[in-house]
């Protein structure tokens, strides 16, 4: 079964201001949806709505034809959300951080898989250094290691390129393109060029509204 996320006539109001209104979003397997817009145009809010975090919106949101609220369990089982904050505990090592995410996903502990994921993310040798002593870019890489560790069909990534070096950017772009080719879907916000990716659809926020 493939994935389809659809939003109809989505509207969200924040502080007496409509961030967006009458927004239609459609995402299917193998697609990358890039949400664009100036600062404060509601990109993060939209991503939070589309990942089922915010309930404070008008319009309909459907996952595979069912209202999102009715199939939340299935939706969450297939979602990987990375927000502005990487969700990496400073007091724990990258390995411990990943082990927690693995357990949270209901999977059996598998240290070898965590090590492989960290290795793929370019963190070989830092497995047992507390994340608080790693740089911002390395912390971002710990979070990104979850993309390989816990496979999910739908990735919702809010500014995932933040703090990454050039090599990290290339790695993430490769990963995004591989995910889309394999039939996965991505919703992403970034100010980055996303050069090497095909089948990227754009959604522009913050223009049509008065």
């Amino acid at each position: 079964m493939s994935l389809r996320l659809q939003a109809r006539q989505l509207a969200c109001e924040r502080d007496d201001r409509w961030l967006f209104d009458g927004l239609d979003v459609m995402l299917e397997s193998g697609e990358i949806l890039r949400v664009e817009g100036p600062n404060g145009s509601g990109k993060t809010t939209l991503l939070k709505i589309l990942s089922g975090q915010l309930d404070d919106y008008d319009g309909a949101l459907e996952f595979n034809g069912q209202p999102l609220r009715a199939c939340r369990d299935t939706f969450l089982a297939n979602l990987l959300y990375l927000g502005h904050a990487p969700g990496v505990k400073a007091g724990l090592t990258p390995l411990e951080n990943l082990a927690w995410y693995q357990a949270l996903g209901g999977e059996a502990p598998d240290e070898a898989a965590c090590e492989r994921a960290l290795n793929d993310a370019g963190l070989a040798g830092f497995e047992d250094t507390p994340a608080g002593r790693l740089s911002a870019g390395q912390n971002r890489r710990v979070a990104l290691a979850r993309l390989t560790l816990t496979p999910r069909a739908l990735w919702v990534l809010d500014e995932p390129f933040t703090a990454l070096d050039r090599e990290g950017v290339a790695m993430l772009e490769r990963r995004l393109s591989h995910h889309a080719k394999a039939g996965g879907s991505v919703i992403i916000t970034t100010h980055h060029a996303l050069g090497g990716l095909q089948r990227v659809r754009r959604l522009r926020l913050g223009e049509a509204l008065a």
Partner: protein, 238 residues
């Protein structure tokens, strides 16, 4: 393993128990890594209790009268002061979002967080109370009841307090608000907790009081995890 297994959809996973244990051990490990912070409530408790004989009077007869109340009030305040950190760290580093988006029932996760809080504050407070009670000349025969009442009562305090902490986690200065929100809910625990110790001192049975403390704990154990989960959702919606 390939980087992505594509668009194949997964059914909702099992393993809520595993996730519970993972969150519990993660919390305990973090607390052990920052022992100084984790010991704060206990230090506060010891300081307050040791100051009272100095400030009031070292007269054992006088101290024995106020000891049950003092031991309980100080424990309550120590537990209250530690609540602010319960979800704050997770909120700031984004773990809370991930907790809410995990394909697990959120109440199991909130229960794990509360368990950590109780193991790091309520339980040490209850275990250290008899030692500090000697400073206040608490009459013999009531020490076991004191510990037992604190064990039962502090668990309720952690559960109820976490609701307040969850409601205020999104606010910049939630500490005072948390106290105002949950102090009224703490009063019954305080009344029956001190009641148990006073009954033991008077030579009566403390069992009715302990039974009520147990009932309060059962009630909050049943309702609080859901209330905390709902409060967290409201906070993150803000």
């Amino acid at each position: 393993m390939s980087a992505s297994d594509g668009g194949a959809l997964r059914p909702p996973p099992h393993g809520a128990g595993r996730a519970f244990i993972a969150t519990l051990s993660r919390g305990l490990r973090l607390a052990f890594r920052r022992r100084g912070e984790a010991l704060n409530p206990l230090v506060f408790y010891a300081l307050v209790i040791t100051l009272f004989p100095i400030g009031i009077s070292p007269d054992p007869a006088l101290l024995a009268v106020i000891a049950p109340g003092l031991l309980w009030v100080a424990a309550l305040l120590a537990a209250l002061l530690s609540l602010d950190t319960l979800f704050r760290g997770d909120f700031e580093d984004g773990s809370l979002e991930q907790l809410i988006l995990a394909p697990q029932p959120l109440w199991t996760q909130t229960l794990a967080k509360v368990c950590v809080h109780w193991l790091m504050t309520g339980l040490p407070l209850a275990l250290s109370a008899p030692l500090l009670a000697t400073l206040l000349a608490l009459p013999a025969g009531s020490y076991a009841v004191l510990t037992l009442s604190l064990v039962l009562g502090s668990a309720t305090l952690s559960l109820v307090g976490a609701i307040g902490a969850a409601l205020t986690v999104g606010l910049a200065r939630g500490g005072v608000l948390t106290s105002l929100l949950i102090l009224p809910l703490y009063i019954p625990v305080l009344v029956f907790g001190t009641g148990a110790v006073e009954a033991a001192i008077a030579g009566q049975s403390a069992l009715p009081y302990l039974a009520i403390l147990g009932a309060l704990l059962a009630l909050s154990l049943m309702l609080a995890p859901w209330a905390i989960a709902a409060s967290l959702r409201i906070s993150l919606n803000g």
